[in-house]
């Protein structure tokens, strides 16, 4: 019985190479943040100021 277990263990050793040689995962996923919010806020502020300026000009 012990011999059989030893044989199985020895014969299983080469299989470790097969197990560790699985294809790897594709690259890390890309993330998608939103940029330029400050610019958008500035554009909104400029738009509001322009409207106010035009309003006071009339």
């Amino acid at each position: 019985m012990r011999n059989k277990i030893a044989q199985i263990m020895v014969l299983s050793l080469p299989l470790i190479t097969v197990i560790t040689a699985q294809p790897s995962f594709p690259g890390a996923p890309a993330q998608a943040p939103i940029g330029g919010l400050g610019l958008l806020a500035a554009a909104g502020g400029a738009m509001a100021l322009k409207k106010l300026y035009d309003k006071h000009k009339k």
Binding site: G35, L40, K51
Partner: protein, 165 residues
């Protein structure tokens, strides 16, 4: 000043309450990914999704994280509408309609990311950096402009003056 105050208040609420809680952001990210995947699958692309990940089958995926799903933009958009004077009913319509349009734009943006990773993966950096300028900002600026025009017209008719937005 008022718009800046509303936006600052929104940022504080978002950074310290909404983002750490994560439920609304997670819902936005996952729903956006599901709708983008459904749309792309409907028109014939083979799409794989897992939670907040989306990819064209066998290609590099895109992860829509909390804080990257347009939630902050929705606050900025609504903050301007709230701060600029106008009729309350029209204001609600502009906020609800604008948020709906930006949500749909975000679905298109996510779908575009998945396709750009399939066809032009080498351009990922500029694509994701400038996507907001194409998908979101024209909508936001147009709606803001319309709102200032509509509220001005309302002011002319009602005789009320503008508040300092």
């Amino acid at each position: 000043m008022k718009a800046g105050g509303v936006y600052a208040a929104w940022l504080l609420i978002y950074d310290f309450v909404v983002l750490p809680d994560g439920r609304v952001d997670t819902w936005l990210s996952i729903t956006g990914v599901k709708l983008a995947a459904a749309g792309l699958s409907f028109v014939g692309w083979e799409i794989e999704t897992a939670g907040r990940f989306i990819a064209c089958a066998g290609n590099r995926g895109v992860e829509i994280q909390n804080g990257c799903n347009g939630m902050e933009l929705l606050g900025l958009y609504a903050g301007f509408i709230i701060a600029y004077s106008g009729d309350a009913k029209k204001r609600l319509m502009f906020i609800a309609g604008g948020i709906g349009m930006l949500f749909i734009a975000n679905v298109f943006r996510i779908a575009f990311f998945a396709l750009s990773n399939l066809y032009y993966p080498q351009y990922w950096d500029p694509v994701h950096h400038y996507s907001s300028y194409v998908f979101f900002y024209p909508i936001v600026l147009t709606l803001w402009y319309l709102w200032t025009t509509v509220s001005d017209r309302n002011d002319i008719f009602s005789g009320a003056s503008l508040s300092s937005a």
